[in-house]
Structures are given as C-alpha cells and as structure tokens.
C-alpha cells in the first residue's frame, strides 16, 4: 500500500516504457544472433541488411558440425564442469560443517587461511599452476582441467554461514540419541541445507561452465577444448563467415538458455542469495 513507489514519480506507463526499451535492447543481440545464423552468405552482405532471413538456412548448423567437433566440446565442458561442481560441493559441505560445528585446534587460523584465498586473483597462480600441471604431465588432460579446482573457499564460507543458521538443538537431540557426526551431517544438516546446496551448486556450475583462461592455457589439442575455448578458436577461424560464427554461438548459448528458462526462478533467486551472503 504505502510501499516506496518510484511509479508515482515516473508514472506507471513511463516505467513500462523504460522497462520495455531496456528489455528489448537486452534481447536484441540474441535476435540478431539467430537471424544471422540462419542467413545465406549472400544475404549477410545484402544492403540494406535484413533482420530476419528471407530463407532459413538450417544447413549452416550442419556446416559448423562438419567443420569443428562441437559435440566433443560439449562433452568436455559437461565432464569438466560436473566433476568440479560435484567435488567442490562435497568437499565444501564437509569443511563448512567442520568450521560451523566442530571444535579443533587452529580452527581460527585455518578459517582465515581459507578466506585468504578468496582475495587472491586466480590470475596470480596461473603461471606456477601451469608449471606444476605440466610437470605432473597433465597438460591437455581432464586431470589438468579439473584437479586444481576441486576445492573452493567461497563455497566453504557460503555453506558455513548457512550451517550456522541451523538451530543447535536439532543436532544435540540427535547426539543424545547416539547419532554420530557423519549421521547428523547426512541425515539432519544436509537435508535442512538443501536450498543453500542448490544455490551454491548452480553458482559453481555457471562460473565453471564459462571458465576461460585456464582451459585456454592448459589445452593444446582440439579434442580437449571445452566449449568456450572451442568456440573462441572457431570464431577466429570463421573470420568473415558471420553466419557460421553465429551458428556456433547459437549452439553454445541455446542449451544453457533453455536450462535458464526452465529453472529461471532458481537461477535468479540463487544469484540473489549468493549476493546477499557473500
């Protein structure tokens, strides 16, 4: 009723106009991408250019698939992202619980040491990480792409904060009934932390899916490229063949956008949650 309303200031219709303009401007590049992806090479050069092709050239996608192993990039990205995400969530839940509930020596020191890694930009460790991974013989392998990222201090911190909000009493009752720490964690704490676990899973997945610098450094062969790296090289190679470049972009964007449309509420609320907690 009396909530703060800029609407009174701008007027309701003005708000709508502004929002429609903003949304249209945001969505427009996607329309241009799909339009270009379906054009023939002649129509791209046509003047005046068309927004939507006269004739839809679906074979552009077939051409892209023939030129580069997109499916392979996909599989690589899925393998790498899922491995990192799952492992990070498991290790972070364990460490987060230890920091939230257990008593052990050097707890404060260790917690500070974890948090300290958050302020170190990943770029600082890129060179020694590369040297380390190449000495291990992991260049151009799945180990090289995943192992250095199997722990995340951010996820530990985020889950610890959430575990702290769970009432002690629940766990203490279980302990009086003779439940061990593992059982308490698995049967009481983790089920209660489901929203936080879902949020952090999504958050890690999205950032790892788009990881660029490290896979660029650590992969050599086309067969080991993840989707961002594969797309990047394809963009370079396709040069002036804009229709193929955009067909590649559509293939990279479409699945994650579909996922977003299906679960947009979880996506948006999850991001809002990491923002307010982190």
């Amino acid at each position: 009723m009396t909530s703060y309303r800029l609407g009174k200031f701008f007027g309701r219709s003005a708000s709508y106009v502004l929002l429609i303009v903003m949304s249209a401007a945001t969505a427009f590049p996607f329309v241009w991408m799909v339009g270009t992806a379906l054009k023939s090479p002649q129509e791209i050069l046509a003047y005046p250019p068309t927004l939507w092709p006269h004739e839809l050239r679906w074979e552009n996608f077939v051409t892209v698939f023939k030129k580069v192993p997109f499916l392979r990039f996909y599989v690589n990205s899925i393998i790498v992202t899922c491995l990192i995400t799952l492992w990070q969530v498991v290790t972070s839940a364990l460490a987060g619980y230890a920091f939230a509930r257990l008593h052990f020596p050097f707890k404060r020191f260790l917690f500070t040491a974890y948090i300290a890694t958050l302020i170190i930009p990943g770029e600082v460790t890129m060179l020694p990480l590369f040297l380390l991974v190449s000495r291990l013989g992991w260049i151009d392998t799945y180990q090289g792409l995943t192992v250095p990222f199997l722990a995340s201090a951010f996820a530990v911190f985020f889950l610890r904060q959430f575990f702290l909000t769970i009432p002690h009493e629940l766990e203490e009752a279980a302990r009086l009934d003779g439940a061990g720490r593992w059982r308490i964690l698995l049967q009481i704490v983790l089920p209660l932390a489901r929203p936080a676990l879902a949020t952090i899973t999504l958050f890690i997945f999205l950032s790892e899916w788009d990881n660029y610098l490290w896979p660029l450094i650590v992969t050599n062969s086309e067969a080991m490229r993840t989707l961002p790296i594969g797309l990047r090289y394809f963009v370079e190679e396709s040069g002036s063949q804009l229709h193929l470049m955009m067909a590649g972009a559509v293939m990279a964007v479409l699945p994650i956008l579909l996922l977003f449309f299906l679960a947009q509420k979880q996506f948006i609320e999850g991001i809002a949650m990491t923002g307010s907690k982190g």
Partner: protein
C-alpha cells in the same frame, strides 16, 4: 553443555600470548578421548579441501613469489636471481602502464553507468507491476550466456561492413564507424558489451536488497509527508548501502580481472593496444613471450592493486555504509 572442549578464545585462555593460547587450546584435545575423536573428525572433514588448496593455491602462490625475483624466461639462457628488477621494470615499462591505464579506463567507464542503471531498473522492477518476471528474465539472459558467445555476437553487431550498428548509422545518414578497430572507440565498445553482459546480475542483487528493506520506514515517512525523492534519499539509499557496497566491491575487483571478453572481441589487443587490459598483458607476457619472471612480478602487482583498492573501499565503507 555438550561442548567437549573450550574452543579457541574461550574466557580462560583469552589473556595469554598467542602462542600460549594455541598451546593451551591444544591441551584438552590430547587429554580427553572425546576431543581427540572430534579433532580427527575435523581433520577428515577438512582434508579433502585443504589438500587441494595447499597443492594448487598456497604452494603456487609461494612459488610464483619466488619466480618473480628471477629472470626466468622459457628457452632463454640460465635463470638467476635478479632482486626486485622485474617489479621496477614492469612499473616503468610503457606496455604495463598502458595496460594499467586501460584497466582503469574500463573501470571508470563501466562502473558508474553499471551501478546507476542497474539500481534504476531494480527500482522500476520493485514496483510490483504486472509482467515484472518477464522483464527480469529478459534482462537476466545475458548473465547466463557464455562470455565467449556474447563477445562473438557483439563482434558481428560491430562488424564494420554488415554489422547492425553501422547499418543503423547509415540509414540515419551518418558515416560508418570502425568501432573495435578505432583506437578511441574500441574501449567504449568493449564496455558496452560488458554492461550488457553484467547488468542483469546487479539488477537481481539490488532487487533483493530493495525487497529486504522493511516497509515500516516508508509508512512512517509517508505519514510525515516525505516526498518520493526524500524517501529515496533518506531511506532507500542508506538502507541499501551494504548491497551497494557489495556491488561496488565486486565491480572493482572484476573490472581488474577482465580477460575473456577482450580476448575474443579484440584478439590482438585492439588498435594501438587500446584495449589491452592488465590480465591480457599478463597473459601475453607469460604465455606468449614466456617471460615467466616478469609475468610473476606483474601478477603480484595486479594482486597488490586489487588488495589496495579493496582496503581503501573498506575504510570508506566503515564511514558510509549503514547497517540496519
């Protein structure tokens, strides 16, 4: 009641020296079997993540710091200790200064527009009008789009001969611009893509902040006859300040880490290296020119800049940020 051992900082040990505290803290863990068990438990809970952090974060950091004092260059003679030469050389080199300048330019160009625009849209979306979720989804789409794909799309939009922008300019009777190929326009063109890509994220964060402000304040202000502007200035802005601070902090840090966007939009660093930002420079120095020693030094300079800016922001925030 059920606490098996005093945790660090418990009242009995609070006044001893730090070392004394640690030793005193340790004692009960070895005496009581209960505590020893819990310590082993904690160790097994922490080990999986701690091992990874030690091997792939702490150790590389120390190693990089060591490398930064050598003249190590892959495939070029013997490596020897050169002291702070790399740091001095970097700070005085024109390439580094250009990269630093570009990073700062990116930050100054992007952040104010980003914050003002995302706050404005969040305020509009917070009105609970019909169809808000549609706008929210549309504005959030670029956030989930891969950065490389986003950059590829915009490369096509900026294309000098058949891109969208020049088509519009031409149809309005203006001459074509060279966008990413124009030394003066290249950085603004990059910033526009970054804005498009990141706006939705900040909108969602601001919206969450706005929704957490209690209505009581606005009701009281209404009774007192406060104008819309006054309510925004004296209620919304102060109560939103922790969120604003978060957006600012993340915005500054991320501005200094921009890489993939620029690397795809302008793989050669742009005309006259006008969009070669710090991480781009670092990447070229280390992985294309293989100057490991100097690259390590530059990475620590980057770290120092980010740390320094975070510290300054924190000092300012102490005075400016209001917590409810």
């Amino acid at each position: 009641m059920s606490r098996p051992a005093p945790g660090p900082g418990s009242p009995t040990v609070a006044r001893r020296s730090r070392l004394g505290t640690w030793v005193a803290d340790l004692a009960p863990y070895f005496r009581k079997p209960n505590s020893r068990q819990e310590m082993l438990m904690a160790l097994s809970f922490l080990a999986p993540s701690l091992l990874v952090l030690v091997a792939f974060v702490y150790f590389p950091i120390v190693w990089a710091f060591g490398i930064s004092f050598t003249n190590w260059q892959a495939g070029a003679g013997t490596t020897s200790f050169v002291g702070v030469k790399n740091y001095v050389d970097s700070l005085t080199s024109g390439d580094f200064q250009n990269a630093l300048k570009n990073s700062l330019y990116f930050l100054v160009l992007k952040l104010p527009i980003d914050m003002a625009l995302s706050l404005l849209v969040a305020l509009l979306l917070n009105q609970k009008l019909r169809g808000m979720s549609v706008f929210r989804v549309a504005l959030f789409m670029p956030v989930v789009t891969s950065m490389v794909a986003a950059a590829a799309i915009w490369r096509v939009l900026y294309n000098p001969s058949s891109g969208f922008f020049n088509t519009v300019l031409n149809s309005l009777g203006f001459l074509s611009l060279r966008w990413l190929r124009d030394p003066n326009l290249a950085m603004p063109s990059v910033v526009l893509v970054a804005l498009w890509k990141g706006l939705g994220y900040n909108i969602v964060i601001f919206l969450a902040g706005l929704q957490s402000i209690s209505r009581v304040y606005y009701e009281a202000a209404e009774i007192d006859g406060a104008t819309t502007w006054q309510r925004f200035r004296y209620i919304t802005l102060p109560l939103l300040s922790p969120v604003t601070y978060f957006v600012l902090l993340i915005g500054v840090i991320n501005s200094f880490k921009v890489f993939s966007l620029v690397h795809v939009l302008a793989p050669d660093g742009g005309p006259l290296n006008s969009v070669e930002v710090l991480v781009f420079y670092l990447y070229r120095l280390t992985f294309q020119r293989f100057k490991f020693g100097q690259g390590a030094a530059v990475s620590f300079i980057l770290f120092a800049i980010v740390l320094g800016l975070t510290f300054i922001q924190q000092r300012v925030a102490e005075k400016r940020v209001h917590y409810e």
